[in-house]
Amino acid sequence: MVVLISIILLAPLTAFAVYALLGLANKGNPRQDVLSTFAMLAAFICSILLFWQIDPKPVPLTIDWISLGSITFSMGFYLDSVTVIMLIVVTLVSSLVHIFSMGYMHGDPRYPRFFAFLSLFSFSMLFLVVSDNLLGIYIGWELVGLCSYLLIGFWFEKDSAANACKKAFLTTRVGDVGMFVGMMMLFTKFKTLSLYDGANAGIFTLVEGLSGTGDMLWLSVAGILIFCGAVGKSAQVPLHTWLPDAMEGPTPVSALIHAATMVAAGVYLTARMFPILTTSSSLVIAYVGGITAIVAATIAIVRFDIKRVLAYSTVSQLGFMMLAIGAGSYVAGLFHLTTHAFFKALLFLGSGSVIHAFHAMHTHHDEEHTDDANHEHDDHSLVHEHGSEIPPDQDMRNMGGLRRKMPFTFITMLIATLSISGVPFIFSGFWSKDKILGGVLERAMEWNSIHHYILFVIALIAAGITAFYMFRLIFMTFFGEPKNQEMHEMAHESPWVMTVPLLVLAFLSFPVVNHLWFNKDFVKPPMQHHIHAPEHAQVLPDSKTHNTEFSLAFLGVSEANAAEGEENGHDSAHGADGHHGHSPAHTIAMILSIIVAGFGILLSWLFYHKRRLSAEAVSTTFRPVYNLFWNKYYFDEFYDGVLVALTVWKSRLYAQFDGSVVDGIVNGVGTVTRDVFAAFTGFFDNSVVDGIVNRIAEVTWTIGGRIRRIQTGAIQTYLFVVIGGIVLIILIFRVL
């Protein structure tokens, strides 16, 4: 086990270290791609092997990292079922992205560097996943942030990329600081940052032992602060603005980091912190997730940049996951994380394939631009009047009718779209999204909580919108007539290194992954000791509605329900009475979600395929709303115009203060000392001190001048003195 986990972590790290060392010696590594990819595949295989070895009762493997008197910070791994599933997801997606990149990034001047960064990212992400303590998680957390920074800014010659990477790092850092403060609170309270029991009791045990049945404010605050980290990393409102900008990075990076793994780390963290969440912090998380889901979805409707649509879709889906965890549906949240990782990675890689097709056209167009400016666009005729920032090869308005040109890409992307839209039963996305909706509704019914009803409605609407804009993407890209004939002609199917990963991911978008989760004993949600149902909660009568259960056991659904029931069983100790099995909530949710998804797809079909409805007309009619969506709710304007400007202004102020006031005081004191104080002292000095000195000097000078005459140079004078002296001496001795 230790060996396996060591290989999983060290393989990608070694791949990066080789690159770094060779780079320092000013020698590139020509086969970095192979090295990194094999390291990743090795990690993937080890993860699979680890899957069979998971201990039902995991114990963290820790070592002492820092010992300070009575306090010890340890570092270690905690391997439970969720960890292993995450390991498999990360290593698998990462391996596929590595393979895909070998085609996509081919010919880039910094090709080896790209793979080195991917390796470093994979290491950091895996480290984050397996860490058993907050400090370790934080370390991995920041390291993935660094890699994200490096990879978003991979084509740093583009100013937009340079801006985007900085924005990403800073925005997430704001959240991270919140997380750090949360860690400080927990540390101050518990004197440890370990989550699980090792040599000493971990935070979770200690939280369990906290007295006080009420909603502990400080614990809620700590939970929310830690969640702040997740808000930053998982691009939740209000710190979501960096993620769409992060699309400046190469598309495989978007697929791996900004869709499948890193952004999901926030969800993973929140899930990890599940036991310390209190009723109110859970609610905050749920609301943030819900709002994010709907806000991002609405923005996605009006985007034309294929990658931005996917980015907002990612934000929206991450909101769903947060909502699930906030609503207590631990398994649902993580389940959606997994399914989303696969289908969203697929969507991104698919879009990458499309971009690559057009990109090939570009490189054909002007060969001299092949170096690092491969995504740069200098073809101004293609720039739309609206979104001048959209590169033409990513603009959906330039696409259309690609399904015949790129059949593999089309099919795989269609599968992923069906999955994310929640088309029932044969796509994994349906199950995971349905579980979230069901979980929220269940909590709402169970607690009779207006908050959760609202959240359920929000989520439902967001799900519908998701179906709408995803199909909009498909219709605009692959159906219809080519909008840009020149580009269309150049488009071609991608090489096999790119299509194979797409096919693998497409396979994973079917409910095969469900079996990972809905093994009855495999994943168990941890206990939440500080979640309490509100007073007005209605304890529903035992309502095992077996009759409504779909017998789709082959898809793993019955296990799903059983697992969720297990979770409820834990909750029941504190909240509502146990209602094992299936509540009507899930059935209601399922039916509603099918309806909204169908409605969304239908609308999309009418708008963008059949053209029965005009998108332009609608947007004109609802101009203010459209503007709001188009301008992304003015978050960026607010941040750039207010927060950033304020900070910069403040820093200038401080610097001016420093330069003029503080230093001014110092120099002023200096000047005053010199001019006023020193004028007096100077007077004193000149007249008295210096006067004395000068007087002494003068007297000496005068005496010297006089005595100097003795030195006449005339020997006779000397003789006078000598003889006079002799006489005098003898006289003195004779007389006295």
């Binding site: 006779q716 006078f720 003889i723 006079g724 002799i726 006489v727 003898i730 006289l731 004779r734």
Partner: protein, 172 residues
């Protein structure tokens, strides 16, 4: 002490010496001074005779009068060009010098007068023995051979040095 011829001659020599020496230091003309010095040197030679130092007296006359004094006269000639060399004496310097000299003289005289050991030492009744042979033996045979050699070397050095210094193109 009755006045004999001998004493008269002695006082004569003494007066001659002191008087001429006084003239040496007082006369304005340097050539006159040189001649006065010659008289002094003769006087001293006479005193040597009274002290039964016949060889020394002869040496004094030969070396001083025949050598040094001629040398001095040469010096006077070469430095002044014309033999008109008025010695200029400043008044203040004269007074100061005179004072100091007087004080010195008084001091010496006091010492001479007050030293009891030196009182009443008379040379009466001693038989004169010529000193030349003894001096020759002493210098060339006995105790003073080394100083004699050193003195001869010194003379040589002085001669060469004098010749060197007085050369015209000394700096070349």
């Amino acid at each position: 002490m009755e006045i004999t011829l001998k004493t008269l001659i002695f006082y004569g020599f003494a007066l001659m010496t002191i008087g001429s020496a006084f003239a040496v230091v007082t006369v304005r003309n340097i050539v006159h001074a040189a001649f006065a010095l010659m008289v002094t040197l003769f006087g001293v030679a006479g005193l040597y005779v009274f002290l039964q130092a016949d060889f020394l007296a002869a040496t004094q006359v030969i070396v001083y009068v025949g050598g040094i004094l001629v040398l001095i006269l040469f010096g006077v000639m070469m430095t002044s060009g014309r033999l008109q060399m008025r010695i200029h004496i400043e008044r203040g310097q004269l007074i100061l010098g005179g004072g100091i000299t007087l004080a010195l003289l008084m001091l010496l005289l006091t010492v001479i007068a007050n030293t009891p050991k030196w009182k009443n030492l008379s040379d009466d009744g001693t038989v004169f023995v010529p000193t030349t042979s003894r001096i020759g033996k002493l210098i060339l045979n006995e105790a003073f051979l080394l100083p004699f050699e050193i003195a001869s070397v010194l003379l040589l050095v002085a001669l060469i040095g004098a010749a060197l210094i007085s050369r015209k193109e000394i700096r070349d």
